[in-house]
Symmetry: C2
Subunit: 199 residues, 2 copies
């Protein structure tokens, strides 16, 4: 049954990417029809179930992501795992507490560096954290979130991402550090306007 | 059964606000322990069910919100209604399509005006839109989203919000325009560090 469910979500995602995704450049796959601008909630729930199944038995206590496009996937994963979801903010609100954790994230599509922050009240040494995001490319967002987990003194269970652009090497660099990275879709190349699936 | 569910969600929210909310000033109630920084996914699902029940029979085709704190509530509402969720972005990504809809939102807590945008592909004249957000205060975010619905030529079904700060009068100003506004929690005042519930 588990194997069946894995095939289904991956196949659903591939179908969606083929039908509604758009290769914008050799580096950018636009999937804002269902993943990060318009969102398909039922597909998000299936993705959440899939991450829950892959990380079963890991005793996760918190799901961590970064606003805004990670929230939907993280929320459904938190729902299935029955644990709270924390999203790092890109701006420190005036109402945030005194102790904060922060990391830096370089955005290649927007060509800027942003600071991401988490209120110290919502992550601590007792937490076992699953990091969730929509994309894994160069791994910049993941690195920023890892920094936050580290500052909180929490344990990292792993990273779950919907689409890994393997050719941008962030995933493999994280795996080399001994971090468990689970990607539902692995893309080898976007050259010539074509999506090359690796799994 | 419906009445029972309404009482339950409202009571759960009040309990959460009493236990985990913090009155930061006469204008600001901090609920980032469960609603907009750390998120309780199971509570969000119950809120989504509640909005679905309140707007049942309205033939909603899209749920519209604005990043980042509206996404969780909107996503669960979209899940229960079985319709896509669109979140307006606060920055126009370089990969957005050519036709876009935009509105302006003034943030009082951050003292700035931001432009919010939706890709023209994800909202159109055939859509019946439910706007969802975490807070309704002065109604600035709602006004920006209404502008977007109008530009798209879509129909507005109504606005659903988790917490309405009635004393900031945005909700009543929208109701005076004939817009249906459903708030799960109505707060009359935050004076002297106390939350005064009106419902």
């Amino acid at each position: 049954m588990e194997g069946e469910s894995i095939v289904q979500v991956k196949d659903l995602l591939k179908e969606k990417i083929r039908q509604e995704g758009r290769v914008v450049s050799d580096d950018v796959l636009k999937v804002d029809a269902f993943l990060n601008h318009q969102i398909d909630p039922i597909l998000m729930l299936k993705i959440g179930e899939e991450f829950t199944s892959r990380f079963s038995g890991c005793e996760i206590t918190k799901v961590l992501t970064v606003e805004a496009s990670g929230i939907a996937v993280a929320l459904m994963t938190g729902l299935c795992l029955k644990v709270p979801v924390v999203f790092a903010k890109k701006k420190q609100p005036s109402t945030m507490g005194e102790e904060i954790y922060c990391g830096k994230v370089r955005s290649f599509t927007r060509e800027e560096v942003v600071q991401i922050v988490v209120d110290g009240n919502y992550l601590g040494p007792d937490d076992k954290v699953l990091i969730i995001d929509d994309f894994l490319a160069s791994g910049e967002a993941a690195k920023g979130l890892l920094k936050i987990v580290e500052q909180a003194g929490a344990s990292l269970v792993g990273i779950g991402t919907v689409i890994e652009k393997v050719f941008q090497s962030g995933g493999n660099s994280l795996r080399k550090q001994g971090i468990r990275v689970e990607s539902l879709i692995k893309i080898g190349s976007l050259a010539n306007g074509e999506v090359e699936f690796l799994n």
